[in-house]
C-alpha cells in the first residue's frame, strides 16, 4: 500500500535531474526532501505527481503502476513555491475547483471547503479575489485547495521559500499544526525544502538530495547528528558546517598550526589526515583562543555571523550576540573539541560526536 519508487532516473539534457532515486513512502507519514536549489527536489515531486515521466525506473502506489496513470487521475495534490492559484476565480471557487472536477455533491463540497478554510485560517475571505491577497494568504489558498481534495499524496514544493521571514516563521508553526491535525492516516505528505531548520522542525523522515542523487535517508535527528558525508553536513546545516583540513596524531588534532586535545569520541581513530567538521555554533570567542582574521561580519537579528580566515581555511562562527567587528581585525576563538566531526579524505563520515560512523 506504499508509494514506492525504484531506481528513478531523469536526464532531459546533459545533466541528471534525478539519478537512481529510490524511496518507500508509507501512509500517514511526513517525508521531507532536503537539498539545495537545482538538486532535483521539484523534479522528484513532479515525477510523483505525474507531470514528468522518468527515463528509467518505476513508481507504484497501492500496488498499481503509477507511471501508467495520467496526472489527472492520480489523486495527488501539490503546492508550488510560487503562489499558484487560479487568478480568474475567487478564493472559494479556487478551493472548490478540484472538487467540482471530481463531481462531488454540492453538500460534500461545501463541507470540505469550509473545513479547509478553517484549517488554514481563511474564513471570511471566501469572496476575495486572489490578486487582493498577500503572498502568505495566497499560499494558504493553495494549501487549502490541496487539503480539501483529501488527496492520498500531498506534495509541497518549498511552500515557504517565497514568503518574508516573519510570515515564514508563522506559517511554519501552522504547518506543523495542520500536518498533525488536518491530515488523515491515509495521506503521504512529502515536503521539499532548502532550509535545514524547517526539516528539523517538521521532524519527519528526511531524504537528502544533491545533483539528483540521494545522499542520505533517515530521521531528521539522525541526519543532523550523523551526516553520512561532507555534502550532507553542508546541506543540512545553516550556515553550512565548517570544514578544516587537518590531521590527528596520538596526542592532538592539528589544523592550520592549531593543536587541540583529542576529544573522547576520537580516541579510537586511526592517526592520519582528516577533514574535520565543526558547526558554526560550536565556535566561541575566547581571549585564550586561536587567532583568526575577520573577512566579513553579518549581523542578523540577535546574532552575528563571523566569516573568519586563517591560512588556507575559511570558517564561519555564529556569535550569539550583536557585536561590532572591523574587517581584517584579528579575533581569538575557541573550538568546542567535543563537537568535532571527522570525515575521511573520501569525504565520508568517520566519527561523529553522536557516535555514528559510516564504516
Amino acid at each position: 500500500m506504499n508509494l514506492i519508487g525504484e531506481k528513478i532516473s531523469y536526464k532531459p539534457d546533459e545533466q541528471f535531474h534525478l539519478n537512481d532515486v529510490s524511496f518507500n513512502f508509507k501512509k500517514g507519514n511526513l517525508y521531507t526532501i532536503l537539498g539545495r536549489t537545482l538538486s532535483g527536489k521539484t523534479t522528484l515531486l513532479k515525477t510523483i505527481a505525474g507531470l514528468l515521466n522518468p527515463d528509467q525506473g518505476s513508481i507504484s502506489f497501492e500496488e498499481k503502476d503509477f507511471i501508467k496513470i495520467p496526472v489527472w487521475e492520480r489523486n495527488v495534490a501539490m503546492v508550488y513555491q510560487q503562489f499558484i492559484n487560479y487568478p480568474h476565480l475567487n478564493v472559494y471557487e479556487n478551493i472548490t475547483f478540484p472538487l467540482e472536477q471530481r463531481k462531488l455533491s454540492p453538500e460534500q463540497i461545501k463541507k470540505d471547503v469550509d473545513e479547509a478554510l478553517k484549517t488554514v485560517g481563511l474564513v471570511g475571505f471566501e469572496n476575495r479575489k486572489i490578486q487582493e491577497l498577500s503572498g502568505g494568504q495566497q499560499q494558504r489558498v493553495a494549501l487549502a485547495r490541496s487539503l480539501a481534495k483529501k488527496a492520498k499524496i500531498l506534495l509541497l514544493d518549498e511552500p515557504l521559500v517565497n514568503l518574508d521571514y516573519k510570515l515564514r516563521e508563522q506559517l511554519r508553526e501552522e504547518f506543523k499544526r495542520i500536518f498533525s491535525e488536518g491530515l488523515s492516516q491515509d495521506t503521504i505528505l512529502i515536503y521539499s525544502t532548502t532550509d535545514p531548520q524547517e526539516v528539523m522542525e517538521l521532524n519527519g523522515e528526511v531524504i537528502v538530495l544533491d545533483e539528483g542523487k540521494v545522499l542520505q535517508k533517515g530521521p531528521a535527528k539522525e541526519i543532523f547528528e550523523n551526516p553520512s558525508n561532507l555534502k550532507v553536513a553542508e546541506i543540512s546545516n545553516d550556515p553550512p558546517m565548517n570544514v578544516l583540513k587537518g590531521s590527528k596524531n596520538s596526542k592532538n588534532l592539528n589544523f592550520e598550526n592549531i593543536s587541540l586535545e583529542i576529544p573522547n569520541h576520537f580516541k579510537n581513530l586511526e592517526d592520519k589526515d582528516y577533514n574535520f567538521g565543526i558547526r558554526a555554533s560550536e565556535i566561541k570567542l575566547d581571549e585564550n583562543g586561536e587567532e583568526f582574521e575577520i573577512e566579513l561580519a553579518e549581523i542578523s537579528g540577535s546574532e552575528t555571523l563571523l566569516h573568519l580566515k586563517r591560512g588556507n581555511s575559511k570558517i564561519i562562527a555564529l556569535i550569539e550576540e550583536v557585536m561590532n567587528f572591523k574587517i581584517h581585525e584579528k579575533v581569538k576563538i575557541n573550538f568546542n573539541a567535543n563537537k568535532f566531526y571527522a570525515f575521511g579524505e573520501d569525504e565520508k563520515l568517520v566519527s561523529s560526536p553522536y557516535g555514528g560512523t559510516n564504516g
Partner: protein, 282 residues
C-alpha cells in the same frame, strides 16, 4: 518649475489633440458641403460659412443607376469578411500559440521557435509578393471574386498576428498554472479551456483588436482578388474618386469606414482602463 511643467504638459496634450482631431473635424465639416462650398472659398463652419447639405451622405446609399455609389453592401461585406476571418484566426491562432508555448516539437532541424517564425514570416514579405500566388490559388479553386475566398486570404494574413501575440502571452502565463489544473483533475483540454483560456482574455482582446484593424483596413488584396460580384469597403471608397473629386462623399465614406474601429477602440479602452490587460497573472 512644476507650474511650467503642468503648462507644457497641457500645451502638448492640447497640441496633439488638435493634431489628431482636426482631420476628423475637417472631414465632418466637408461631408456636409457641396461642390459650391468646397471650391469657391475656404470655409469651415456650417450655416455660418456655408449652407450644409446631406448630398455627400445620400450618394453613399443611392444606387449607381441614380448617380450614387452604393456602399451599404460593401460595408456589410467588409464587416462579414473581417469578423469571420478574425474569429477563425483567433481560434486557430490561439490553439497554435498554446501548443507552441507549451509543447516541444521536433521535426528534423525544426523547433518551436522555427515554427513561430514561420508564422510571423508570412507578414515579413511585402503583400505584393503574395498577390500572384493568391490569385492563382483562388482562381484554381474557384473562389476568386467571392466572400469565402477573401476570408481564406485574410485568415492567412491575420493568423500570424494572433499566433505572435498569443505565443508571447502564453509564455508569460506560468506553466505551473496548467500543471495545477492537471493535478486538480483536468485533462489537458479541460486545463486549456477551464483555466488557461479564462486567464488569457486580455491577450485575446489585444489579438482580436489587431486582427480586426488589419483586416478592416486592407485595400490591396480586396482590390486584387475581387472584380464585380463582391466588393469591400476600402475599394469602394477609392472608387468614389472620379474626374471631379467628390470631397463631400469621400469625407462621409471615410467617416463611416473609420467608425467601427473607433467603436472597437472604445470597447478595448474600457478593458485597458480597468487594468485587466496587465497584472491578471503574476
Amino acid at each position: 518649475m512644476s507650474k511650467l511643467y503642468t503648462f507644457l504638459k497641457y500645451f502638448f496634450i492640447t497640441f496633439w489633440t488638435v493634431f489628431v482631431v482636426a482631420p476628423f473635424l475637417w472631414a465632418v465639416s466637408t461631408s456636409f458641403k457641396d461642390f459650391q462650398s468646397v471650391n469657391s472659398k475656404v470655409t469651415y463652419i456650417p450655416w455660418l460659412d456655408f449652407e450644409p447639405t446631406l448630398e455627400g451622405w445620400r450618394v453613399l446609399v443611392k444606387s449607381p443607376a441614380k448617380g450614387g455609389v452604393d456602399i451599404v453592401e460593401p460595408y456589410f461585406n467588409s464587416i462579414f469578411v473581417t469578423c469571420t476571418a478574425s474569429l477563425i484566426s483567433i481560434v486557430l491562432g490561439t490553439l497554435a500559440a498554446y501548443a507552441l508555448s507549451r509543447f516541444t516539437f521536433k521535426a528534423g532541424f525544426v523547433r518551436n521557435n522555427d515554427i513561430t517564425f514561420f508564422f510571423i514570416s508570412q507578414r515579413i514579405m511585402p503583400p505584393i509578393v503574395l498577390s500572384i500566388p493568391f490569385f492563382i490559388f483562388l482562381s484554381t479553386i474557384g473562389l476568386l471574386d467571392s466572400l469565402l475566398g477573401l476570408v481564406v486570404v485574410y485568415i492567412v494574413l491575420l493568423m500570424p498576428i494572433a499566433v505572435w501575440i498569443m505565443v508571447d502571452f502564453f509564455n508569460r502565463v506560468p506553466k505551473e498554472l496548467d500543471e495545477t489544473a492537471l493535478i486538480d483533475g483536468c485533462n489537458p483540454y479541460q486545463a486549456f479551456y477551464k483555466v488557461v483560456l479564462p486567464n488569457s482574455i486580455p491577450g485575446l482582446i489585444v489579438a482580436g483588436m489587431f486582427c480586426i484593424i488589419f483586416g478592416w483596413i486592407d485595400f490591396f488584396f480586396a482590390f486584387i482578388l475581387t472584380f464585380t460580384e463582391v466588393q469591400l469597403l476600402p475599394v469602394k471608397v477609392v472608387a468614389l474618386n472620379s474626374s471631379i473629386t467628390p470631397w463631400w462623399s469621400l469625407s462621409a465614406s471615410a467617416l463611416v469606414s473609420v467608425a467601427p474601429l473607433i467603436i472597437v477602440a472604445f470597447i478595448v479602452e474600457r478593458y485597458l482602463s480597468k487594468g485587466n490587460l496587465s497584472g491578471a497573472l503574476k
